[in-house]
């Protein structure tokens, strides 16, 4: 799963610790999500999106491995280039 957490956080000038505090998680968790080492649970992903006042798909989008799990009948979003590709 890809995300633009680091960019969103930088826009708001929040440190990892600050964001972690807001969400009640550890700084390591925020760092691991930002660096792609860890995919958050659905509740945490929603909480993150809510914190940035965005929709979840504006924060997270599937990478190639996740996209391979998508049903072939549905619309396939492009994966590694950022959110909003389904609008193209």
């Amino acid at each position: 799963m890809n995300n633009r957490l680091r960019v969103l956080r930088a826009e708001r000038r929040w440190s990892q610790a600050e964001l972690a505090e807001r969400l009640g998680v550890s700084r390591q968790t925020i760092n691991a999500i930002e660096t792609g080492k860890y995919d958050p649970s659905l509740p945490l992903a929603f909480a993150l999106a809510r914190t940035f006042e965005l929709k979840i798909e504006d924060v997270f989008w599937p990478d190639a491995a996740t996209a391979a799990l998508s049903p072939s009948s549905g619309p396939v979003r492009e994966t590694d280039e950022g959110p909003g590709m389904d609008r193209l």
Partner: protein, 138 residues
Amino acid sequence: MTSTEFTVRDSRNHRTFSLWMIATMILFAAATILIDGKWIPPAAGWALTAVTGVLLVVTIHSYMYFLRHADELLRKVHLEALALAFGAGVVVMMVYRLCERLGAPQLDINDPLLVMCLTWIGGQVIGSRRYAAGEGDE
């Protein structure tokens, strides 16, 4: 936050678990010495054994409480460490059973337990490093 890995809640719950674990280990060591040395009557030995068992259950309960309320990444690290410890225990026990049949000295029941404890601790270290914040992170 008290550290990069633990939230305040995690630190508190982990401290509670650690204190119960230390208390249990001290009681276990004391009970072993007292029973082995025959310094207490058998009835007291049984009572001490029962108390040790109760403390162990409380310790495990406090660990499960810590896990259930832990930060999700921390929980993942601990669950992976537990899986590794369980796997190591199974491997040691099964493989050594065969080794015993081939003439190796008989295994003490505490040996696989020690392997499991050490692997559990090692697994936590490995897991923490895997997800650790890199240099230059805030």
